[in-house]
Amino acid sequence: MTRRVLRGFALGLMSATIFVASQAHAHSQPYSWIDLVATPDSLLGEVTAHVVDVAHELGAVAPESLASASGLAVHAAAVREVFARQLDLRAEDVRLTGTIGAIAYLPEKNALRAQVAFARPHSSSLEVHGPLFVWEDTHETYVNLRASGRLEVQDLLDHTHTRATWMTGEKRDLGRVVLRFVREGIHHIFIGPDHILFILGLLLLGGSLRQLLRIVTAFTIAHSLTLVVATLGWLQPPARVIEPMIAMSIIVVGIENLLAKQRHRDWRARLAFGFGLVHGFGFASVLRELALPADALGGALVSFNVGVELGQMAIVVIAAPTLALLRRWRPAWSPGILQGGSLVVIAAGAFWLVERLLAH
C-alpha cells in the first residue's frame, strides 16, 4: 500500500513537473479566434487573442498590463498594429488590408477582442491564413466565416494546417492565377540553392550553344513530366526519398564534370533528363503546398512551370556567357574553374545529402 501511495505521489509530481515545464515556454491557453461575416463588399468581424500572445508580439510589455481598460488604452496603437499584422486575410492569395477598430478586454478569457473591417474584392476565394501566432507551435486559431446567414467555414489553423479557404462561387480571374503561379515558379528557383547549383554544375563544363540547349531542354522536359504526374496525384514519392536524391544529383553532376574530359563524352543531357525527373517531384511538392485552385488547375500548373523555366533561363543566360567570357579572357583559368567549381558543387551536394538523410 505504501509503495502504491509513493508511486501515486511520484506520478502526481511527474505530471505536475511535465505541466509546469510545459508551461514555462508556452502559456496554457494557446488559442485565438477569428469570426468573420462576409457581405458582398466587406468582411466584418472580431478577432480574439490571449493577452500573453499579444504581449509577446509587443515585446517588452507585461501581459497583465493589457488586462485592464486603462492599461489597454496606453498600448492601444501598438495592439492595433499587432492585430493588423497578425490577421492575414487574402482574396485569391492577395493580402487584404483593413482597419482594426475598437479593442476590448475579455476577463473570462483573459483575452483582447478587436473589431475588424476589410473591403472585400470580387474573388473566387477568400482565405484566412494562420495560426494567428506562431511563436509557439501549439497555437491554434479557430476560424468561423459566415455569409448570407450561413456558416461557410469552420476551421482550425495550426502549424500543420495554415489556411482556411472559402470558395465564394465567383469566377476566378485566370490572368491573376497565371501571374501568381509564374511568380511562384520563379521565386522557387531563386530560393532553392540546390536547383541553382544543379544548373550551374551542368554549365561548368561549357560547350556549344547547341550542347547547352540540349541540356536545358532535357532538364525542362523531364521536370515538367514529373511535375504534372505528381501534381495530378498519379505518383508522389515521399520527400524523404526525393530530397536526398536531389542532393545526390548535384554530387553526380560535379563528379561528371571532373570525369567528362578524360572520357571525351558528354553525358550532361542524359543526367539533366534523369535527375530532371527527380527535381520535378521536388517542384511538385512546393506546388502542392501552394494550394492549387481546383477550378484553374491547368493554368496554375502551366504557369508555375513557366515560372520555373524563366528562373532557370535567367540563371543560364547569366552564368553561361559569364563562364564562356572568363574562359576566353583567361584560358589558363579554365581547368581551375572547372575543377574548383565542380569540387564546390560536390561539397555542397554532399552536405545537403547528409543533412537530408539525417533529417528524414
Partner: protein, 280 residues
Amino acid sequence: MRSFRLLFTLSLLLAPLTARAHEYWLAPLSYQAGAGDTVVVRAYVGTGFKGEGKPLAARRVVRLEARTTRRVDIRSLGLNGADDYARLVLPDAGGASVAFQSDFARIELPAAQFEAYLKLEGLEEPLRERVRTKTSNAPGRERYARCCRTWLHGTDVARGIEPAGLTLEVVPTADPTVLKRASFRVLLRGQPLGGALVRAWNRPLDTGGRPFAVATRDSLGPVYEGRTRADGTVTIPVERGGEWMVSCVHMEPSDVRSEADWQSLWANFTFARPARSRPR
C-alpha cells in the same frame, strides 16, 4: 527511490510534450442535474486531472453524441471555437452521457522522448516492436486520436454502462456510483482489449456537484493503475466520492504509414460519485 528517480527523469524528458501527452477529458459544469435542467459539457486538457478548457474544433470532430432517452448526433450543434461541446436539456431523471471522438493529429518525437513516453504510458507492444525491428533509435512518428465520454448519473444506468461505440472506449460494466469496487471494460473497436494499462484519478467535487476549476486545482497522481484481464476488464476500488476519470491508452501500427508509423487512441470515462453514497 530508483523508480522515483526514473520517473523524475522521465518527467523532465517528457516536459516538451505539451500537446499529446496530456489527458483530454469531458466533464459537465455540474454532475447534478434533473429533468428539465440544462447540462453543459466542456472538454479539458491537462495532466494529473488538472488542466485548461479546450475549445471545440469542428474540423477534428469524428463523433459527438449525446445519450438521454435516445442517442442524438450533436456534431452539427457544436460551434467551432466554443467552450461548450454539448448543451442539453434533460428530458427526464435518467441521466445523460456525452461521447466525443476526434480525428487523428500527427506528432513526431525524437527517439529518446518517444521511448520515454511509451514507457510512461505502459505501451509495451510498441516498445517491443521497436526493439525487434531495431528502430528504437528512430524518431517516433505518431498520430493520435481522443475518445472521451462523460456520464451524469441518473435513474437509467444503461445510459452510462452501454458502450457508445467509440474506437477505444472505457465502459463501466455496472453502476460504479454504488459499488465499492467497480469493474470497467476496455473495448477496442467493440472488442475487449486485454493487457491494456488503465489508470484512474479521483478528486472531490465542489458544492452542487461542480468540479473545481480545472486550471487552479492541484495536479494529482492516479489512485489506481492496473492492466486489463483477457476479457478487457479491470476492477477499481471506487469507494471515494467525487469526480472520477478512468483512462486507457492504446497504440498500434498506423493505418496510414505515409503519415505515421504508430497510431494511438486515448480513451477515458468521467463520472461522479456522491460523497455520501453507501458503498455495497
